[in-house]
């Protein structure tokens, strides 16, 4: 097939990101030609600020060098500004006469700095702060001249002022508003910021309107004169008073524009062959000036250019950060508030800390932090995920640490951490290496950090911290998304929810069908998506979808737990934690017979045989003659019990028998993540039912059911679901909740995270209010479990998966 021609005008961050996304989806569909007015390949514009201060250099901020374009067969015209689009003939023409034909055109022309219409604006020494050329001019001026005036006290102006001061200039910031950053801060916080910057040698003139830039004898700018007649010396004037979408080219060629190139939700302009992306765009009347939304747009455009046609651009909250080393300022979402919004503020001018949180309808919608931004990432996540906050309202201001977070996830101290402090305990990655990778490799997402540094790639408990570091390094450009919006892995753009839905709606019953139906990018997926999809298949279509052992992690393939030295551990099931002399004798005999180095009582009320050789597993299972404890699976693990009314003087119910019955009832249940239960005989709760996925506490008049507890990485107390009277009700209500979780949770999402995502109200609707629905859920669970057998018994009988346990050897097989 002949390739289509794609031409892109504007070689900046949004445009090139679109090409990257497109090449991931379909590397072959287009012949691509790119025109860029600047003489450079794609660089990270955001980092011009640290380049100006001297903290980074230009080569360090390149995102894609010219070799990248060559490697992908992209024709690159640098230093060529497109001046005409002939939409009839579908040709673009650059100022130097170069032309290119297109089938699809992508406009990514960014924006232009706004220039104040004052006399003297074209004088030598008057610059804006937008591109490499501007930065070079400023660095040059700083070497030769003394006085700089920055007009504009917004983020960009302050970063420019800070950079010029770092290069030794005497800098005055002129601002029309009453206080600095009047779009991010209120008066109190702004005054604190101004103090800090004054201590660093910057001067400020507020509520000043520039009247004229006055030339000196050399013709270069020499001073700035204000409306009130005052004048300050200036050998360099930086105008940082705002940006305007750059749409003149589009407008001239007859594409509908209204303060930006007008696009629909698919980023298409009024000419269906022409797409637009980035700061030049006006989407539903809004233009954006931060990269995070632009990168979201890039994904949408790529999806449509690749003819997938399913993505829509939906604006999400954005966050910003002032990139001045030593000044911590962070704002996100709607930090200005307004009608129907509540404000929670904390102000400590002496300690230099100011925090403002904006709440609307029980949700956090905006945050503005000064001085202590450690919790910025957490607030940003709450804003984007739209969590209800009534339960944590009191602690909200104190930060995530105050919510009683023991793990790294809540240890939001990214700013204060030294470079050699360890962030990821699993892979031994320290903060310095993460920061370095983010800066050198131009990373914007936690996934990219994972790939490049391994941080957060194992147990994941430090993901929050990594997110924080990312936000600290690249500010609002950090692409942090809740899991429900993230693509499963690099093989697809679809998220877990979308894949699940497709499997159900399109009745997909095998991995191969799923990959084909959903246009997977790889032939057979990867180690992240295959186990997830295998689970979605077998849980959606029990008895129909065939389990694929090759898409399961080794533990679930061989029904034992791999150890660091490649041996395995064996944990037989002890129903409800109850055993007997004969079982114990068999365990002892097995340990002797197979030279098992360690026998340990687990935290789950049963016994672990550690260090078993793989080839011995089937024999060990046969000799034990006990069912699998599934201690290795995303499945039912243990049901812990206490002694209960049969023996305990306080016991009100027979918790032991209840535990045993539940464990039999749920035996063999595969689930999105592991599932643990416990049953206590009275509220003293000796079996720790309060931190289990399903916890049951016997009381005089029946049983209380709790759900969504977790005793692991981050301890979470289970929430009260309901109280029931009978044994059978315990079975049905527990089973119905677990089936709902099995049907709706994302792979690796434990009950607590599922519960937080959908909310307790929803669970109550489905499990309590709707009796017929509850019974159906429980019936579907029983139907699914009817296909499950004890995996150990199946394998000891031979036949099943023999190849897993028998090694090859040269002697035996040559025959």
């Amino acid at each position: 097939m002949k390739k289509l021609k794609l031409v892109m005008v504007g070689n900046g961050m949004a445009g090139v990101r679109t090409l990257e996304e497109l090449l991931k989806l379909t590397p072959e569909l287009y012949d691509i030609t790119v025109f860029g007015a600047e003489p450079y390949a794609n660089y990270n514009r955001i980092l011009l600020s640290p380049v100006l201060t001297g903290e980074q250099t230009l080569p360090e901020i390149m995102l894609n060098d010219v070799d990248w374009y060559a490697e992908h067969g992209i024709t690159l015209h640098l230093g060529k500004e497109v001046v005409e689009i002939d939409r009839g003939r579908r040709i673009v023409r650059a100022a130097d006469g170069t032309t290119a034909e297109y089938d699809r055109l992508l406009l990514a022309t960014g924006s232009n700095p706004f220039i104040l219409p004052v006399p003297g604006k074209e004088l030598d020494g008057v610059v804006t702060f937008r591109d490499i050329h501007d930065v070079n001019t400023m660095i040059d001026a700083a070497a030769k001249h003394r006085h700089a005036v920055v007009i504009g006290g917004g983020l960009l102006g302050l970063e420019a002022a800070n950079g010029l001061a770092a290069r030794g200039m005497k800098v005055t910031v002129v601002h029309l508003g009453e206080w600095l950053l009047d779009r991010q801060l209120d008066r109190t916080a702004a005054a604190m910021l101004q103090d800090t910057l004054q201590e660093r040698g910057l001067s400020f003139l507020l509520q000043k309107q520039t009247a004229e830039l006055v030339a000196g004898s050399s013709g270069r700018v020499a001073s700035v004169r204000f409306k009130d007649g005052e004048e300050v010396p200036a050998d360099l004037v930086v105008m940082a008073v705002g940006i305007r979408p750059n749409f003149s080219l589009a407008e001239q060629s007859g594409i509908y524009c209204d303060r930006g190139i007008v696009v629909n939700d698919f980023m298409q302009t009024f000419d269906p062959r022409v797409y637009a992306v980035g700061e030049c765009v006006s989407h539903r009347g809004v233009s954006y000036g931060l990269v995070a939304p632009l990168f979201d747009m890039a994904k949408v455009v790529a999806n449509h250019l690749a003819n997938f046609g399913i993505a829509r651009y939906v604006p999400a909250a954005t966050s910003t950060k002032l990139k001045v080393t030593g000044v911590d300022l962070f704002s996100a979402g709607n930090f200005m508030g307004g009608d129907g919004h509540e404000e929670i503020t904390l102000s400590d001018p002496v300690g230099g800390i100011y925090k403002k949180l904006i709440v609307k309808d029980d949700k956090l919608v905006g945050a503005c932090l000064y001085g202590d931004t450690a919790d910025g990432g957490w607030y940003f996540r709450l804003i984007r995920e739209g969590h209800a906050i009534h339960e944590m309202r009191e602690q909200l201001m104190l930060g995530e640490g105050a919510i009683g977070d023991v793990g790294h996830a809540g240890q939001n101290r990214a700013m204060g951490m030294s470079d050699d402090a360890e962030v990821c305990g699993c892979n031994g990655v320290c903060k310095g290496s993460i920061v370095k990778a983010i800066q050198e490799k131009g990373l914007f997402t936690v996934d990219e950090v994972k790939k490049h540094t391994k941080a957060a790639s194992s147990c994941g408990s430090c993901t929050g911290l990594v997110e924080q570091i990312l936000i600290n390094c690249v500010g609002g450009a950090a692409d942090v998304k809740p899991k429900s919006e993230k693509a499963i892995c690099g093989c697809t753009d679809l998220n877990h929810g979308q894949v699940r839905q497709a499997i159900r709606e399109q009745h997909l019953t095998s991995l191969a069908d799923t990959f084909a139906a959903l246009d997977w990018r790889s032939v057979d997926g990867c180690s992240s998506c295959r186990p997830a999809i295998n689970y979605y298949l077998i849980s959606s279509w029990p008895g129909e979808a065939k389990d694929d052992p090759q898409s399961r992690f080794i533990n679930e393939r061989v029904h034992a737990n791999i150890q660091k030295d490649g041996t395995y551990s064996v944990i037989p099931r002890m129903w409800g934690g109850v055993t007997n002399p004969s079982e114990l004798r068999r365990i002892a005999d097995v340990a002797d017979k197979y030279d098992i180095p360690m026998v340990k009582v687990t935290g789950g009320q049963r016994i672990d045989l550690l260090g078993v050789k793989k080839e011995d597993l089937p024999k060990v299972w046969a000799d034990l003659d006990m069912p699998s404890g599934h201690a290795y699976g995303k499945s039912l693990r243990t049901v812990k019990t206490c002694v209960g009314s049969e023996f305990c003087r306080f016991g009100t119910q027979d918790s032991t028998q209840m535990g045993i019955d539940l464990e039999h009832d749920l035996f063999g249940m595969w689930s999105p993540a592991k599932v643990k239960l416990a049953v206590s005989g009275c509220p003293r709760n000796c079996s720790e039912a309060g931190i289990k996925d399903v916890g049951i506490i016997g009381v005089d008049s029946g049983w209380e059911l709790y759900i969504g507890g977790n005793g692991g990485i981050k301890t979470e107390v289970a929430e009260f679901l309901c109280k029931v009277k009978t044994h059978d009700e315990v079975m049905v209500y527990s089973g119905a909740f677990l089936q709902l979780y099995r049907e709706e949770a994302f792979y690796l999402e434990r009950t607590v995270h599922y519960l937080h995502r959908v909310g307790m109200e929803y669970i109550k609707q489905r499990v309590l209010a709707d009796e017929a629905g509850r019974n159906e859920l429980y019936a579907r669970l029983k139907f699914a479990l009817s296909f499950e057998q004890d995996p150990w018994a199946e394998r000891t009988k031979g036949g099943v998966a023999r190849h897993e346990f028998e090694a090859l050897s040269i002697e035996t097989v040559t025959a």
């Binding site: 057979d524 090759q550 791999i562 050897s809 040269i810």
Partner: protein
């Protein structure tokens, strides 16, 4: 140089997207992999990271994911995929008429 090819097993002794181990008394164990499209590869059964048994990993495309800490190893070269670095040695292997041969020294 002619190679000392040894028959090891039949293609069907290894599940597609799977692996088997060849135990050796006089050297490291060898992992023999079969991909979804029936290509066959052999690596020393030792992850360059901390020696994890690659034969126990998940095979997808032309890589295997180590079961211990999820490094991805290229089956053809034994090299760890970026950003990880390191190499498990690879052993020449051929598939003829449904039988798998290894070139062992």
């Amino acid at each position: 140089m002619s190679r000392n090819w040894k028959t090891i097993c039949q293609l069907n002794d290894i599940p597609a997207q799977g692996a088997r181990v060849l135990k050796r008394d006089d050297g490291d164990d060898i992992a023999i992999f079969r991909t979804i499209d029936d290509q066959v590869f052999a690596l020393v059964d030792k992850c360059p990271h901390k020696g994890g048994p690659l034969s126990q990993g998940i095979v997808s495309g032309r890589t295997v994911t180590c079961p211990l800490h999820n490094w991805n190893i290229d089956l053809a070269t034994g090299e760890a995929c970026a950003p990880d670095e390191g190499c498990s040695g690879h052993i020449p292997v051929k598939l003829e008429a449904g039988a798998i041969f290894l070139a062992l020294d």
